[in-house]
Amino acid sequence: MTEGMPGRPMQAYAPDGASQGTAGTGRPTGWDRQQMADRLAREFQDGWIVNLGVGIPTLCSNTDIGDRAITYHAENGVIGYGPVLPAGEEDLHLVNAGGQNVSLKPGAAIVHHADSFGIIRSGRIDVTVMGAYEVSAGGDFANWKVGGAKGGGIGGAMDLAACAQRVFIILEHTTRKGEPRLVRHCALPVTARGVVKLVATNLGLFAPMGEGFAVRELAPGITLDAARAATGAPLFEGR
């Protein structure tokens, strides 16, 4: 796992490019950041409009998903962007939602912020992929405010969460202290309720089912018992 910062319960938002794996502990830790992103990206269907949030979700655009035509939408009005460009080749006028200098694919178009969120609110985003602090079995999630804080960082998360056709979440399965992030009810203030369809963690792929989470897939070396021990809500086998 990535080294979390003390007192900051958000490894899911650690800087891009860090890699995970077995973390040198001998104990399998499952998927790394790119593998989590890859697993969700494989769910993207041909023709989808996909919005990627800051952090691990931006890694989804690195995933090779064959000849499926995916249009990546960034909240700042960039429609149809492609991979991040290396230093020296970037266009400083062109950033994605995370401020990374991306490229454009043929057929790209630019709109202003009101039109960009018009696209979001009118339900045209097939899926938004976001990081989070917590996801509940009922499909609620929290990603804008940490416990005890006066303010927070919402960005486009509430608009996307309320209006996209589907919300996919990527997060580490537990906090650095080992506390579960997949829970029965969110303890933190929620970003939206009942909207999460799929959750990728380092331990596997899960779907909120109301009373608990369905296990869609476990990462290599992760047992159901290990996943259950790390989860704050029931886990159901099968789909």
Partner: protein, 245 residues
């Protein structure tokens, strides 16, 4: 003849901004950010400002003039934005401390609602309903309405006195073109403002040189244009070769 919209310096362009003004700052993660106008306002010193922006800045190094510096300079009474804290723990916003301690007031607004409230102000729409933030802490105690079976939150227009924005090209009539992700909030803030001040990257064109179909913001919304000078005087000057697509 109408007065020219071209102003010779950033200092002159912001000289008459009074204490207590409501100012919107364009930009999203760099492009469209009015660094030069912000620097001029730091030097001008207007106080008790209400500042509208997506973020308060200061998360990245090297740091350029931003809203957080106006806060640190004691010029800001209130901020309206979609981040009072960073989402990444590795990013720490200078503003957060001022807000948490109560020195500066803040209104935290979801980004799409912020854009739409500015757009509404510019379009003469005093209020609208939105699905965003329903069921969250932000909606507590606020007016909602069920329309066609779904619950929506009432939101009000967000007009401002002044907009600071940055554009790629302008003509003397004030027509603007933004380049790529530079557009973001900029046209909306100009439309929401009584006074729109623009820092312009390229040399200002004569009226008639811009294709009317390719104008992103009509000069009707634009009052003052200042050309960003070459470095070191001009901040965040984007070199031509970096613009090749």
């Amino acid at each position: 003849m109408a007065a020219s919209k071209i102003v010779e310096s950033f200092a002159a362009a912001v000289a008459d901004i009074p204490d207590g003004a409501v100012i919107a700052f364009g930009g999203f993660a760099g492009p469209g950010t009015p660094y030069n106008l912000t620097k001029a306002l730091l030097e001008q010193g207007a106080k008790r400002l209400t500042c509208i922006a997506n973020t308060t800045g200061g998360a990245h190094q090297p740091r350029l003039p931003d809203l957080g510096m106006l806060v640190e300079n004691g010029q800001v009474a209130k901020v309206v934005c979609s981040f009072t804290a960073a989402t990444r723990p590795t990013d720490v916003l200078p503003f957060t401390r001022y807000y948490e301690s109560g020195e500066v007031e803040a209104e935290l607004v979801p980004q799409g609602t912020l854009a739409e409230r500015l757009r509404a102000a510019g379009a003469g729409i005093p209020a609208f309903y939105t699905p965003t933030a329903v069921g969250t802490e932000l909606a507590e105690g606020r007016e909602t309405r069920v329309i066609n079976g779904r619950e929506y939150l009432l939101e009000y227009a967000l007009p401002c006195d002044v907009a600071f924005i940055r554009a790629w090209r302008a003509d003397t009539a004030g027509n603007l073109q933004f380049r790529l992700a530079q557009r973001n909030f900029c046209p909306l803030m100009a439309m929401a403002a009584k006074l729109a001040i623009v820092e312009v990257e390229e040399d200002i064109l004569p009226a008639g040189a811009m294709d009317p179909d390719q104008v992103h913001l009509s000069g009707l919304f634009v009052h003052r244009l200042v050309k960003v000078p070459p470095p070191p005087e001009g901040l965040w000057t984007v070199r031509r070769q970096e613009r090749a697509r």
